[in-house]
Amino acid sequence: MVTKKGREAPPAPAQRVTLPEPAQAAAPPRADFALETVDLSVHYGPRPAIQHVEIGIRHRTVTAIIGPSGCGKSTLLRCFNRMNDLIPTCRIEGKVLFHGQNIYYPGVDATEIRYRIGMVFQKANPFPKPIYDNVAFGPRINGLHGNLDELVERSLRRAALWDEVKDRLKHSAFALSGGQQQRLCIARALAIEPEVLLMDEPASALDPTATARIEDLIRELAGEIPIVIVTHNMQQAARASDMTAFMLAGSLIEYSSTNDLFTNPKEERTEAYITGRFG
């Protein structure tokens, strides 16, 4: 399909969960959103990072957030599990609704939110502990009863790492390769059985093979829980996601199905970005 300026559309992503029809992409009822922001603004001290962002993450979809560096995509992601609380100068206005409840309401326990919304970071950061203890860390500090061995194996399988490490669970996590470490971090996040998974440029530090495996993993997991992934790699967003949000200088410029955004962007700035005129 050829679009306005005569360039080729990026290849349609292979296997995906069925998308809502374009007509319905506009505004589904609130209950369909796992996560939603209402007029969300974030300041670091005097500096604004995000301004008046309203976005809704749907169940069982992969949502990609793209934009040039400094546009606020990581900040937005970290609002979802209140990781921004850790930065003392951070000021948050507006609401973030998780299953309809505002997670920033005073009195809400942030650690509870982080336990229900998992996060994988840009650079793999496994603990300097054995592989088993890395995956078991989340369940242990949250007071799990029950079969830890089974939970560890299940999480490692879901992260497509079990076969490679099942014989060396007691070895240090640092002995793994970069791609394996990242999958370990995904297993670690899955072990607490989150209801949403947030990923901040999970493959940016990895080689293409490892990246491809992570993207396969994302598509598999999306069948169970919503995944929000921040990426600076547009091809990755096009390959791996169902919905895409484009941010620029702290504002949400456009948010629609990946197909629509990449082939028929409504905003001029979106088009400029995806055709590579800046960023």
């Binding site: 599990n81 990781m83 850790l86 003392p88 650690t111 509870e112 982080r114 336990y115 229900r116 998992g118 996060m119 970071f121 650079k123 950061n125 496994p126 603990f127 300097p128 502990k129 860390f137 989340g138 242990r140 500090i141 949250n142 240090s172 640092f174 971090c185 670690r188 996040a189 607490i192």
Partner: protein, 292 residues
């Protein structure tokens, strides 16, 4: 007529100065090392003769060849053991608070400056503090517990500073990973941060205790005695420690006592050597495993 000396001769002079300076530098460095060697040789020469079993099994005596370190060694073990028991938990707790929990406020800045100040206070001033507060005000007498409390205050800044540095060296990505899994601050500290900071904590503690073992002045001030011919029978008992016993022997005119003093110094240096070797081994072992 050239106004300056010829450039070639000037360059040669500068080169000569450079070489001369190198010689001077090597000499200066060697002086310091030579002094250390001289000291060790002298101690070994004089003390070796005094290193017999009676050194360890006898109490002090008026006769040099019968004088021994028994009470001093036992006293040192008690005092240092108690000091470690007080100082390590306190120091680690304070360091954890300052580095991991405290918000960047004026209170934190005051505490940090205060700790740096305390590290530079002469040790005898700590003795005066201990004398007034522990011996007189708290009525703990010139006892082992007073000595231990005084030394605890003395080495606390060392432990705090070393532990803080160890905590600071841990990248924040590990803490973030723990928070993202729903960990609380204390859980993150206990399950992730402290295990990783363990090597530097241990090294810092061992160095602090090495310092405490050799401390003489504050313990003299709080009243550790220099002639004790019995073993302490409890924490409130009078006591002496190894460096004070050595001091006592040095202060006597007879050469026989000087030999015993040298022997005592050999014992002291041996203990310190063991402790520092342990610290280095620990540090290397952990550094090999930790590759962050």
């Amino acid at each position: 007529m050239s106004a300056t000396a010829s450039p070639k001769r000037h360059a040669l002079l500068r080169k000569r100065k450079d070489i001369a300076f190198q010689v001077v530098a090597v000499v200066a460095t060697s002086i310091a090392i030579a002094m250390l060697v001289l000291l060790l040789v002298d101690v070994a020469r004089r003390g070796f003769g005094g290193l017999d079993l009676s050194l360890f099994t006898n109490y002090p005596s008026r006769f040099p060849d019968q004088a021994g370190l028994k009470s001093a060694l036992v006293g040192s073990v008690f005092v240092i053991g108690l000091t470690a028991a007080f100082a390590l938990p306190l120091g680690v707790a304070a360091a954890v608070y300052l580095e991991e929990i405290a918000p960047n406020s004026w209170l934190k800045a005051i505490i940090q400056t205060n700790i740096s100040n305390l590290a530079g206070v002469p040790s005898i001033v700590y003795g005066l503090l201990g004398l007034e507060v522990f011996v007189r005000a708290m009525q703990l007498d010139r006892s082992i517990i007073t000595g231990a409390l005084t030394l605890t205050l003395l080495i606390l800044p060392i432990i705090i500073i070393a532990t803080q540095e160890g905590l600071r060296a841990i990248p924040s990505s590990f803490r973030e990973a723990s928070y993202a899994l729903g960990g609380t601050k204390l859980q993150t500290i206990g399950a992730v941060v402290l295990p990783m900071a363990l090597p530097s904590m241990l090294t810092g503690t061992i160095l602090a205790l090495s310092r405490a073992i050799g401390e003489t002045a504050p313990l003299i001030t709080i009243g550790a005695l220099t002639f004790i011919a019995f073993l302490p029978d409890g924490l409130r008992a009078p006591f002496t420690v190894l460096p004070i016993q050595i001091f006592n022997w040095i202060s006597r005119p007879q050469a026989g006592f000087h030999e015993r003093a040298a022997a005592g110094i050999l014992v002291l240096l041996a203990v310190l050597l063991l402790m520092n070797a342990a610290a280095i081994i620990l540090r290397n072992r952990y550094q090999r495993r930790a590759q962050w």
